[in-house]
């Protein structure tokens, strides 16, 4: 299959590495030689410019960084992404893509969506200047440090950014005349958002959730039941629930709508989810312009699969002056084997229909990820983020469970905000980031969700 964008690795030439075994799908055509990114447990190192901030050489064609969404494409982000699925799903995905592109241009749909985002979800969410957090970091550095702004996705209906996407896709399902929706959820946020959107539009809703996750987040299960959704347990965790739900979709094509929760999966799912989450970034640009008349110097987001990160990044990808920083879950530590740091420690392969980085062992079996932030426990990552990593457009770091819990407590104490444990990973990275930044640099952190759901976890977390 040809790709619209040609990608050259920074290393230049290709190596003849042994073919990576893809456990779920056969690789149809395509490139069988992969550049491995083994043991890149070091954070990406970039050249620094005279201000001490990383200098990114803009590519000769800026378009290389962005995949065009206005017309149907192969869904490739460089060599990542694609549509590695069983033949039966291909026509459903093609139909979905057509409908997606149609609604993007349909003013009626857009108006209904904008109204729903405003009146139901509570957009736009504020860009909040975190005065005490800023003072905290400046105080540690002789009064010099960045200005920290928080994009408050925790204030969205149901307390996470997931609602932006669930709402839009539920509307698409209705448009397609489907009355049943299925989805898979890890921590439960996407399941709850989907259940709520289905309740609002009168659609029936089935959520697949791993039994391990159901035990860790019983409150989410209760919420889904209350909202009228049926929760179907799957043995295992999010990855198994996702596989199960895709299987279910394949069986019930034409009867159910598969509501992807994050920017993974076969094309067009990653593009759709990113598109519906990109409202976050668009608002952020406007709010930043209002507040300080410019763009941020750095945007920091946590990444589990990548929907909130892509949502806030997409608007700024073409702006090389804006650093894009993701923070993954290092769990018990990157060398412990119990983490979810896909970009740092993963290898390229095909998973859930897309080519991307993923945590796999030598036999190509998926490694079970771990993080205290349940929403981070995905062994893969959005193909678009893999692309941004390889082009060097995005930097990736990680934070351990302990650092995340510490950050949760710190933000609670200093700002009266309880960030979701997932978002706490982004806040944790501030500890390392702030001392390196010049005075007055503008950082925006995406607070992707609220952390009331995590109070019990933090309560029970052993204090070292």
């Amino acid at each position: 299959m040809t790709s619209l964008f040609h990608f050259k690795t920074t290393a230049g030439h290709r190596h003849n590495y042994p073919q990576v075994v893809c456990p779920n799908h056969a690789v149809i055509g395509g490139n069988r030689h992969f550049k491995t990114s083994k043991s890149t447990v070091n954070p990406s190192v970039l050249r620094l410019n005279k201000y001490g901030t990383p200098a990114i050489d803009p590519p000769k064609e800026r378009l290389e960084w962005v995949v065009d969404t206005k017309s149907p494409s192969t869904g490739k982000f460089g060599r990542f992404g694609g549509r590695f699925v069983a033949e039966t799903l291909i026509s459903a995905l093609e139909e979905l893509e057509v409908v997606f592109h149609h609604v993007l241009q349909d003013p009626e749909f857009q108006e209904e969506l904008t109204t729903a985002l405003k009146d139901y979800v509570g957009r736009e969410t504020p860009l909040y200047y975190a005065e005490r957090l800023t003072a905290h970091y400046k105080g540690q550095n002789l009064g010099r440090g960045p200005d920290i702004y928080i994009k408050r996705e925790d204030l969205a209906h149901l307390g996470a950014h997931k609602m932006n996407n669930a709402l839009a896709q539920a509307m698409i399902a209705k448009r397609m005349g489907l009355t049943a929706v299925i989805a898979a959820t890890g921590a439960g946020q996407h399941g709850v958002a989907t259940a709520a959107a289905c309740a609002k539009f009168g659609l029936s809703c089935t959520i697949f959730m791993g039994t391990a996750d159901m035990e860790k987040q019983p409150s989410s299960v209760d919420l889904m039941n209350l909202l009228g959704a049926k929760v179907r347990p799957t043995a295992g965790s999010f990855k198994d629930a996702t596989s199960d739900s895709i299987r279910d979709w394949t069986e019930k094509l034409g009867e159910v709508y598969y509501l992807a929760g994050t920017a993974v999966g076969p094309h067009p799912c990653p593009t759709m989810v990113r598109e519906f989450q990109s409202v976050i970034g668009r608002e952020t640009r406007r709010q930043a312009a209002e507040k300080w008349g410019g763009t941020p110097d750095a945007v920091v987001a946590c990444v589990g699969s990548g929907s909130n990160a892509l949502g806030i990044f997409h608007e700024f990808v073409r702006d090389p002056t804006v650093r894009l920083i993701v923070v993954e879950a290092a769990g018990f530590g990157l060398n412990s084997g119990k983490h979810a740091a896909t970009l740092a420690a993963g290898e390229v392969g095909v998973y859930h229909g897309a080519m991307s980085y993923l945590l796999q062992d030598e036999e190509g079996q998926i490694i079970c990820p771990h993080s205290v932030g349940v929403g981070m426990e995905y062994p893969g990552v959005a193909p678009e983020l893999s692309f941004l990593k390889e082009t060097g457009r995005m930097e990736f770091y990680s934070a351990s469970d302990e650092e995340a819990v510490e950050a949760y407590r710190r933000v609670a104490r200093l700002e009266g905000i309880l960030p979701a444990l997932e978002a706490s990973h982004a806040f944790a990275y501030l500890e390392k980031l702030c001392p390196t930044l010049p005075d007055g640099a503008k950082i925006i952190i995406s607070c992707s969700g609220r952390g009331e759901k995590d109070t019990e976890t933090v309560f029970n977390y052993p204090i070292s």
Binding site: K118, D119, Y120, G122, T125, P126, L127, Y128, Y129, R132, R152, D154, L155, H157, G159, A195, A196, A197, C198, A199, K200, G202, S219, D222, L223, N225, L226, L227, G228, R409, A412, R413, L414, E415, G416, I417, L418, E452, K453, T455, E456, V458, F459
Partner: protein, 482 residues
């Protein structure tokens, strides 16, 4: 001031209340009845009053049960709500309200009142408050057209009211409470206070207070009944996470009213350094007015949004009433608009006849509680009846004095709804709109069942969705057996 002092300021409102309509007239010879000693109770152990006789008294005074008849003043026609003093200079709404507090607190209340009046028109303060409400709290909250709920109440012939929800549940911390907490903490900072105290029942107001104290770096102490602390361990932890100190109160029934009394006691002791953030429109003047003013943004936004959406005003405003702050917040801007119906919904608990409810305005009598004269649930001895509601926020034996005033004037109507009806509404709205309302709010939502069939086609109903129900999911699931 002198007049206020003469009007029976009863000291320590902590454990007792003084009813203004004791059964026997004082001229009777059975003068050591408990009611007359209740009038003169200075916290002493049971003391027998001296026997009185009418001989030698040159002033006669008639005490009647019917307070309205005692007011012999001919009032000018005040059927126009715009002309009502809400409150007047002494903090009264008609006969309700006032400042029934120990002498030590009078100065603090006066100081608070003048500070509040100075910031009311201070553009810098208002700008700062507005900025925080916007960026930190997430205002303005949307006015959401509840399509499926409207459909649900549509009659077979297609007619029915249009139901809009004012989404206070989308605020930071998930309820309207933070509007007031932010305003008061900014006021406290202006007064130079470094220490904040508050009381809390289930923890919602405590969490809101701890939140704003964390945001502004102030010391925070929350008083909570020991029984409530056990039932709400997670909220206690949350408050501690936010940097607050949570002190358990073991006296009395170890619930909200005892925590309130303890908080007032702390305030009396530490009045110079401490500001007391009262969570509702109850308490001594200037609190009912202040809290209402900080919440009135709800109604102001609603007016503007209603104009945008349908080019008019709401026909009916509905809100749940515990202490009454969210209702006053929504109603305030519309009180002067006589064509807007104001409806408050209280908790009928297990039912009005069960004795286990919190329907103060329906079943209460006038008395003084926590510094203000208002309706309250009291027995014949003037002791507070322990209220009950499945929702902690409505579980208050009193009600804001302004609500008592609006009820007596007939400007607002008050109904009530049982636990069961509230739970049904909780489930119904979750399933129809994907919004999980707080159990408190669910009482207002439950009242729609009785209200909507009576309304003509196209009536615009705005309901204050005062909080979200994540905190109530466990309770609801248990009772609904989902």
């Amino acid at each position: 001031m002198a007049i206020a002092a003469a009007a029976a300021t009863s000291p320590t409102t902590a454990r007792t209340t003084a009813t203004l309509s004791p059964p026997p007239p004082i001229s009777s010879s059975s003068s050591s009845s408990s009611s007359s000693s209740a009038l003169l109770n200075f916290g002493l152990a049971k003391s027998t009053a001296r026997p009185r006789t009418t001989a030698g008294l040159s002033i006669s005074c008639t005490m009647t049960r019917d307070a309205a008849a005692a007011v012999a003043v001919t009032e000018k026609d005040d059927s126009d709500p715009a002309l009502w003093s809400r409150p007047d200079a002494f903090g009264r709404f008609g006969k309700f309200g006032g400042k029934y507090v120990p002498e030590t607190l009078m100065y603090a209340l006066t100081e608070l009142e003048s500070a509040f009046n100075s910031i009311r028109n201070d553009p810098d303060f208002q700008a700062e408050l507005g900025g925080i409400l916007k960026d930190y709290v997430g205002r303005e909250t949307p006015l959401y057209f509840a399509e499926r709920l409207t459909d649900h109440y549509r009659r077979p012939n297609g007619e029915g009211p249009h139901i809009y929800l004012k989404r206070e549940d989308l605020n930071h911390t998930g309820a309207h409470k933070i509007n007031n907490a932010i305003g008061q903490v900014l006021l406290a900072k202006r007064l130079g206070k470094k220490r904040i105290i508050a009381e809390t029942g289930a923890g919602q107001h405590g969490v809101a207070t701890a939140t704003v104290c964390a945001r502004f770096g102030l010391e925070c102490i929350i008083y909570m009944g020991a029984q409530d602390m056990e039932r709400q361990a997670l909220n206690v932890f949350r408050m501690r996470l936010l940097g607050a100190e949570v002190r358990g109160v073991h006296s009395g029934t170890a619930t909200l009213k005892d925590a309130t009394s303890e908080a007032i006691r702390d305030w009396v002791t530490n009045v110079e350094s401490t500001h007391y953030i009262l969570g509702s429109v109850a308490g001594p003047h200037p609190y009912p007015m202040m809290v209402r003013e900080f919440h009135k943004v709800i109604g102001e936004e609603t007016r503007r949004q209603a104009m945008e959406k349908w080019g008019g005003k709401p026909d009916i405003l509905v809100a749940c009433v515990g202490g009454g702050s969210n209702a006053m917040g929504l109603f305030e801007d519309f009180v002067k608009d006589k064509d807007v119906r104001l409806i408050g919904v209280e908790a009928a608990g297990f039912g009005l006849d069960s004795g286990k409810h919190a329907a103060t305005l329906t079943k209460g009598e006038v008395g003084v509680l926590h510094g203000a004269m208002s309706y309250l649930l009291q027995d014949d001895d003037g002791q507070i009846i322990e209220p009950h509601s499945i929702s902690a926020g409505l579980d208050y034996p009193g009600v804001g004095p302004e609500h008592s005033f609006l009820k007596d004037k007939g400007r607002a109507e008050y109904y009530c709804v049982t636990d069961e009806e509230a739970l049904e509404a909780f489930k119904r709205v979750s399933r129809l709109e994907g919004i999980i309302p707080a159990l408190e709010t669910s009482h207002a939502l439950a009242y729609l069942e009785k209200l909507c069939p009576t309304l003509p086609d196209g009536t615009k109903v705005v309901l204050n969705c005062s909080g979200r129900g994540d905190k109530d999911v466990q309770t609801a699931i248990k009772y609904l057996k989902l």
